[in-house]
């Protein structure tokens, strides 16, 4: 177990370092340096200003020095300076991250509950017609664009019924509706994996034995099937980070909320490359950390993973 943990942590660090290197190389491969791109985004800038700013932010240093300075900064949690505001990238992210965490965190919790409810309903509902209708719900939810669902709900609730305002205030609805929109989007993949996993577990002989012994369907589902099916759903938790991020950006735009999404949009619009770079690295770190936690928790839920698969569960399940 100790060796497994060490190996997984090492792999996670490797992925983060490689992601940093790749982003660094990608920035170098651009036709111009970040300062020139930033200053030229409106009109051609004065070469003296460009040179001065390049010196100030350290973009005139040799590449190797830039690479290691930025890497050292990253280790200390310093992501460099945002070109559009002159303040730290970390400060700018820190200002808005709270609002996004509230939205994304609640949406994730709501999505898990929604996915569980959908799976339970699709497995236990009486009548084959109803069950197959419920089974078709997750594929439909995957196909609905987040921004469209948000706009339709805004139209319905704010314009037609007048129960919420078009712009964010501190009311319950103006937080609940964005959370719902994001949760619907997020719960679809979780529900799909969970339903598939439940079907696989239900095909196993021990379920027949339980049924033969007289256990009720809901007892089997909650006490036996779900317990065996949950680890599969856990394994896509990491993937939902990406969905959550993209979903937050769009949800925040639709509902005019401040947050990480708005910051990403601004930084892209004004071509503030250090800020974008910082945001990408932050996401990569969060993604890798979540996956690491999933990989470490997985064996606790399903001990077969370590004994049967000798080491990396990912290598075989991939």
């Amino acid at each position: 177990m100790g060796g497994y943990v060490a190996k997984r942590i090492g792999q996670a660090l490797l992925v983060i370092w490689l992601a940093y290197t790749l982003v660094f190389l990608a920035v170098q491969a651009l036709p111009n340096d970040p300062v020139t791109i930033f200053l030229n985004s409106d009109s051609a800038a004065d070469p003296a200003t460009i040179a001065q700013m390049k010196e100030y932010y350290g973009y005139d240093q040799p590449l190797v020095i830039q690479y290691f300075t930025q890497l050292l900064g990253l280790l200390r949690g310093d992501l460099g300076y945002s070109l559009s505001s002159g303040s730290d990238v970390t400060t700018r992210i820190g200002e808005v991250v709270g609002s996004t965490l509230v939205l994304a965190g609640s949406a994730f919790a709501a999505a898990v509950v929604l996915a569980l409810a959908l799976t339970a309903a699709a497995t236990l509902a009486r009548g084959a017609k109803l069950r197959s209708a419920l089974l078709n719900l997750p594929p439909l939810m995957v196909s609905i664009p987040v921004f469209w669902l948000g706009l339709v709900l805004l139209q319905l609730l704010a314009v037609q019924l007048g129960v919420m305002s078009l712009f964010p205030d501190d009311s319950f609805m103006s937080l609940a509706v964005p959370i719902f929109v994001l949760a619907v989007h997020l719960s679809a993949p979780i529900a799909q994996v969970l339903i598939k996993s439940v079907q696989e577990v239900n095909a196993q002989p021990f379920i027949d034995v339980l049924r033969a012994k007289g256990a009720s369907e809901s007892w089997i589902f909650y006490r036996h099937t779900l317990k065996n099916a949950a680890p599969a759903a856990l394994s896509i938790a990491g993937i939902t980070i990406g969905t959550l991020l993209a979903g937050s950006v769009i949800t925040e735009t639709v509902f005019a909320r401040a947050g990480l999404g708005q910051l990403i949009l601004q930084s892209v619009t004004v071509q503030d490359i250090p800020l974008v770079q910082g945001l990408v690295l932050l996401t990569a770190v969060v993604f890798t950390a979540v996956n690491l936690v999933v990989d470490l928790v997985h064996p606790q839920l399903d001990p077969r993973i370590i004994t049967a698969r000798a080491g990396s569960p990912r290598a075989l399940s991939a």
């Binding site: 490797l14 992925v15 490689l18 992601a19 790749l22 982003v23 990608a26 920035v27 651009l30 791109i37 997750p138 594929p139 439909l140 995957v142 196909s143 609905i144 664009p145 987040v146 921004f147 469209w148 706009l151 339709v152 805004l154 139209q155 704010a158 314009v159 078009l166 679809a188 993949p189 799909q192 994996v193 339903i195 598939k196 079907q199 696989e200 896509i236 993937i239 980070i241 990406g242 969905t243 991020l245 993209a246 950006v249 769009i250 735009t253 639709v254 990403i264 949009l265 930084s267 892209v268 619009t269 071509q271 974008v276 945001l279 990408v280 996401t283 990569a284 993604f287 890798t288 290598a315």
Partner: protein, 294 residues
């Protein structure tokens, strides 16, 4: 993001397939064929919208009739008209080309590079496998949405950088799928038999392994096209696609957003077309998956 979800969806369908085929066996062959491939008809209509939009609507997508502005959906204007009196249905039809071209580019990049990478990982030995899979891990660690945004930041917003960005993000799904399939098929008895009876490395690869990989890849291409349409319309909605006068599905909805309180049809109806297109490609993916199962 939803690429993964759709792939799971395709797999779910595959798991349910045995139950379905019992019912299908009793139906006549033609009905069975129709039940599986009916999705091709609406998809063909979408393709026709992209290729020859003028056949489906007599109105102009760029210049409108100001007198007709904000008229609700009716026989003359199926999806109503916008703030300049432009027919929204016409703009959706004309927008199909832009959306499908960008999504097609993304799909092409993702499937070709991803398949090559997956093949490399599956057949070229342990070192290549590790290297390719670490690369895939990195792509997975940065959400596809951000990859697209980086490209848009570094270059200029537009269909080309958008398609490339979304395509790069979908490389990972293809690489993983192809690698898994190759590893699965490689260990089967018939491949061992082919190698034992003197088949060369590349002959066995071409005649025995690749045919088994094609089905899942084609299925994923269909599903990925839907995911790309979704991602691209989302980015188009945020304003990173083509500039405003061009009709594009995401941009159409973004424009309609300003008139949410006066004209519901500007956002609702084009959105339904996106939902329909994505669901159709997912259904096509399921159909292809079933058809190629051995």
């Amino acid at each position: 993001m939803s690429i993964v979800a759709d792939r799971v969806d395709a797999e779910t369908a595959a798991a349910q397939a045995p139950a379905d085929s019992d019912g299908e066996r009793r139906a006549p062959a033609l009905l069975r064929w129709a039940a599986r491939w009916w999705v091709l008809v609406p998809l063909a209509i979408l393709l026709a919208w992209a290729l020859a939009p003028a056949l489906f609507t007599g109105q102009d997508p760029i210049t409108g009739v100001p007198a007709d502005k904000f008229s609700a959906p009716s026989g003359a204007h199926l999806f109503g008209t916008d703030h300049l009196g432009r027919d929204v249905f016409t703009r959706v039809v004309y927008g199909t080309r832009q959306t499908l071209l960008t999504a097609g580019l993304a799909c092409l990049v993702g499937s070709v590079v991803g398949t090559l990478l997956g093949l490399l990982a599956g057949i070229a030995g342990r070192f290549a496998d590790t290297a390719a899979m670490r690369f895939v891990d990195i792509i997975l660690a940065v959400p596809g949405f951000l990859i697209a945004l980086i490209l848009v930041t570094a270059t200029q917003p537009g269909p080309l950088s958008l398609g490339l960005g979304v395509g790069i993000a979908s490389i990972a799904a293809f690489a993983r799928l192809v690698r898994t399939e190759v590893l699965r098929v490689r260990s089967r008895d018939f491949v061992q038999a082919a190698l034992m009876s003197g088949g060369g490395y590349f002959t066995v690869l071409r005649r025995h392994i690749l045919p088994h990989v094609i089905g899942p890849v084609l299925s994923l291409i269909a599903v990925d096209l839907g995911a790309a349409i979704l991602a691209i319309s989302g980015l188009g909605f945020l304003g990173f696609g083509s500039p405003p006068p061009t009709p594009e599905w995401g941009l159409l909805i973004s424009e309609g957003r300003q008139y949410l309180s006066v004209a519901w049809w500007l956002t609702t109806l084009p959105g339904l077309v996106i939902v329909a297109a994505v669901m159709l490609t997912a259904a096509l993916g399921r159909g292809v998956n079933k058809a190629f199962r051995f």
